[in-house]
Amino acid sequence: MKQISVLLFGILFGIVLTKGEIISWYRIIEMFHFDSFHMFGTIFSAIAVSAIFIALSKRFKWTALDGGHLRFANYPKGWKKYIFGGTIFGFGWALIGACPAPLFILIGNGYFPILIAIVGALLGTLLYGILEKRLPR
């Protein structure tokens, strides 16, 4: 049941990012040109609504449906890996106008050349795994 629900949430996410045009290469390029509020409004409102939910759930000690903890994203302190990793990611994001989830949503939309980028992403991940211990972090 829990597995089915996650599948449904994925379907929701795919619909939202398609209908919101977040998966359009043009929208990402437009964002990096600061020509439109669309992407910024989407990201800021998503953060704001999510932040309000998280603040309320901490205040009122809400739990997951099964009574377990809500798993908020907590990242270890530091800056090197975040700024270096983020910058490398930014190069790729702007080049092909898609971040990881849209790579897959685009398959559903029928843009099959994106499979090439997915192969690239797996190769990049593999390379990271090999170099991991030698990188500044």
Binding site: I28, G85, G86, G92, A101
Partner: protein, 186 residues
């Protein structure tokens, strides 16, 4: 507004992204997509080349299911919700892309130069997609998260590392669009 047939404005799309994040929290999960790349490499036997992939990938199958869902969601939106329309792109962006040699920017959902079926016979487009993908895969693992993990889940939980990562996204993205695009395209 016809939400089924017209594109969604930011004030619908943003809160709907939040809804997805909240639903995942409620079933004990956390929105973060790029971890799937590590899982996929692990399933493919990548632990032979690095301990980084020596993980209990079965614990991550929920995220792969989420991934399968996103593909289905893209299919549903594309085929039943009339999503493949023109993008109402800002005039400044249209002009700059035209100067770079793109034909009728925004008249379709994606530029055919990078996403059309002609790509399979175009070596430079293949290299761009492969390289872009590799940068995304490498960078998101290095920073320990992508747009969903850092920009949504992390920022909503007021994580400083996520803010630093997003600053990195923009350092890379702005450099690419303003300084490297003129070298690649046109």
């Amino acid at each position: 507004m016809d939400l089924l047939n017209s594109p969604w404005p930011w004030y619908i799309a943003g809160p709907m992204i939040s809804l997805t994040m909240i639903l995942l929290l409620l079933v004990g999960r956390s929105l973060g997509f790029s971890g799937n790349f590590r899982t996929m490499c692990a399933i493919g036997g990548a632990k032979k080349v690095s301990d980084y992939f020596d993980i209990d990938w079965k614990a991550q199958t929920w995220n792969l299911l989420f991934l399968v869902g996103t593909v289905v969601g893209g299919y549903v939106a594309h085929n039943f919700m009339n999503a493949d329309a023109a993008v109402d792109l800002a005039a400044g962006t249209v002009e700059r892309l035209e100067n770079l040699g793109f034909e009728n920017p925004g008249s379709t959902f994606q530029p055919s130069e990078l996403f059309g079926s002609g790509v399979w016979g175009n070596l430079s487009a293949i290299v761009i997609l492969l390289l872009g993908g590799a940068l995304i895969g490498f960078g998101s693992r290095y920073a320990d998260g992508c747009t969903s993990g850092h920009a949504i889940s992390g920022m909503a939980n007021l994580q400083l590392p996520s803010l630093i990562t997003i600053i990195g996204f923009f350092i890379g993205g702005l450099t690419m669009v303003w300084f490297i695009f003129p070298l690649i395209f046109s």
